[in-house]
Symmetry: C3
Subunit: 319 residues, 3 copies
């Protein structure tokens, strides 16, 4: 997959489709720009007129109110207009092709598409076909990538740990089906952490794990040893019903649930992250979720800043 499609000839960011092919410099630049927009819950929001007169379109083929709202808020805080197309109920269902849908909305003068689709490669496909002035952000495509989630995770880690180099980071859960995990692993490696581990049942570890440059653990305690950051993945309950590879909920918690006890295997200043929505009592106990190591809500706040940064870098002059 060509990923230099993501950059303008001069090296500036045009699309954000995947972490693959993005240099350490670009990732750091995104995190630096995001820092200017970042505020914690309760602090006054930062706004800008940078994208006034621009139109950003949420093109969601897969329903996700939460994600769509974060992009809508980010766009509005940069003074852009926002259009929402929920294509699961729209013209695509009437037999129109994806490209025709795209070009139609583009003809309404959209400057950016934020795309979510249940097929891997959908955002790439769209990026290959938009007009020259249009940018595309991948808000999750199939099992492939979810780069804005990965970048907000990186931003959160950087806020607390400053330097990526010495870190050992563990990703726990259903790696096999997770577009979030794929993007996180790529970002962590590009940013030069010491070690990335994935921890989960053998059946949920992708076979190409070695290729990804990660260390595989099936035992939680063992995998947590000496770890600086733990990223829990969401257990997708809807998959448990139909998939024999999957353990039961309580069995999963018993083996991979984060508790005060299992957490003791990690470093004393370990960070606990989760992309949400969380299943309390499955991925972790409430004690851990609400405890001093958890930065789960900070991730949400920083997510807005990171999305504002990406939008302003793709569409605006550099702030």
């Amino acid at each position: 997959m060509k990923s230099n499609i993501q950059l303008h000839p001069n090296g500036r960011l045009r699309h954000l489709l995947t972490i693959e092919g993005l240099s350490r410099d670009i990732l750091i630049q995104i995190l630096d720009v995001a820092k200017q927009y970042a505020v914690l819950p309760g602090e006054p929001v930062k706004r800008s007129r940078l994208l006034q007169g621009r139109t950003i379109t949420n093109l969601f083929f897969e329903n996700s109110t939460r994600t769509r709202n974060t992009f809508e808020l980010a766009a509005r805080r940069l003074s852009a207009d926002v259009l929402n197309f929920d294509e699961s109920t729209s013209a695509t269902a009437k037999g129109e092709t994806l490209l025709d849908t795209l070009h139609n909305i583009e003809a309404m003068h959209s400057d950016m598409f934020v795309v979510r689709h249940n097929e891997s490669g959908a955002a790439h496909f769209i990026a290959e076909h938009v007009a020259e002035h249009v940018s595309v952000i991948n808000a999750g495509d199939g099992r492939h990538a979810h780069p804005t989630q990965a970048l907000l995770d990186m931003f959160t880690i950087r806020q607390y740990k400053k330097d990526f180099t010495p870190l050992k980071v563990a990703i726990v859960g259903d790696i096999l089906y997770s577009r979030v995990a794929r993007s996180q692993i790529l970002a962590l490696n590009t940013l030069g952490v010491t070690e990335v581990r994935i921890i989960g049942p053998r059946t949920l570890i992708p076979t190409e794990a070695q290729v990804l440059g990660v260390h595989v653990y099936t035992d939680l305690r063992e995998g947590l040893q000496d770890i600086d950051v733990v990223i829990m993945l969401r257990l997708q309950k809807e998959r448990m019903m139909k998939d024999v590879l999957f353990p039961s909920e309580s069995e999963y918690f018993r083996q991979y649930g984060l508790t005060a006890e299992t957490l003791e295997w990690a470093k004393p200043d370990v960070l606990i992250m989760h992309p949400g929505p969380m299943n309390r009592g499955v991925e972790m106990t409430s004690e851990v979720a609400d405890g001093p190591h958890s930065v789960i809500l900070e991730q949400v706040s920083y997510g807005l800043a990171v999305r504002m940064a990406i939008m302003s870098m793709c569409l605006g002059e550099m702030p």
Copy 2:
């Protein structure tokens, strides 16, 4: 239920969850502020930049486009940003707890939650758990309260009758299941009207009616005698199907429907109110609904002003 949670330590309004525990002074203050925003249909809308930069989130666990739109319009006329979360189709359905949903949205920097929920006490519960700078408005919770509706009714009465003290007000219909009625009775008593009557079939009168300080009538004509204001409740047809306590639609109209004839029992300058949506030919004839005593559409217009007042008192400097 503690209701002083609704006030800041200095006595200023922070949340609006219920009329219970609010003083006459606070209610009058809300009505006074609303007066500055009030315009009749067709008059130019009043706008303000008071809440520029603030984010107001509609968090509706129970579908009501009409109500949500009134809050959205009120917020926009104060220059706030508005987020809509329809949680019946969202992350709560994926196993996330109400509090996690709340804290997630809060982390996107929401300054106010407008909450509608089919369980009594939901707005209170949320208000007890939000961060210090966040306000909560109850837009209807179960059978418990619907304070903004009650306040817009009070505002409408005040526009036409000036002084609450001498008034006799009748509420007609399904009091038992009505959160609107509960809030109206509390507001009317706090504002010091002479008498509040409730009129309806014995089976739809709550047993604690005496406690509420109202006079109960099962005969419409008797109850209307000497009355200044009649507030009709909406007959919820969906309940008629499953509830044996409920009379048939035509039987209900025959006994409790407002007609030119039954209206003659009230005072000559009686006001007719209804929260909408109205079932013509059930709660009242079209002759009454469109007649000179009806202020039903004025209620809608004033509803915007009252919501703007509450938002600006909770979030803004006092205008």
Copy 3:
């Protein structure tokens, strides 16, 4: 049907319900105003503060995200507030009458209703009942009219052909059920084209075709001879299932599909138009849809300009 309801006593446009009864002068004026707002895809959008402080309400009783979004964008680019009521899921379903719904929303201070309804005459009915300061735009009612679509088609023709007088225009497809075709025929005749032809299976030609002042062809090649503009209608697949009058999809394409070959019967500089969403391989080949004669995406861009023009003429001072 009275159509002068569409004009103020001084002749200025108040509503846009149908092309019927509108003079050539008014149509030309709309096209002239639209020219000021028109930009092609990729060009910077034109904005105006003309409708700042005004509220425009999309009142859609029939679901159409695409159409609703074009009106929402047009309104926002004129700085108006926009309210969306999807009445298929709203209070009308609770037994409220259409007029009560209307008056309720009007009482929230709406200056314009954009109405889409599956019953012919719905927009007219609403226009007859709104308050004096309120305008109504018909965004499609049953089989009756879709005047904004017809006007954007006229605008597109004018951009490329300058003068309507010498033109021969063919409309191809399911004329019988098409509100778009009815509006297009009226507009073309009012603007004084030389000839309007309709081309389609005998079963899909309305019996009053002669009255409409059009020439009927059942053979595509014959109908295309000497033609300047071809407007393809959308084949509504959903109708094919239940309607015996309707040919199969492939049979339809074989007889009425536009191809490089059939296009040769038209003039060398023929324009190809389609209201979208398009069924490629049914109404036309991809070669034609993406070919040099196609102005399908330009129609979408110009659609925004035409809607902005109508809104600003109905609500604003003349720009």
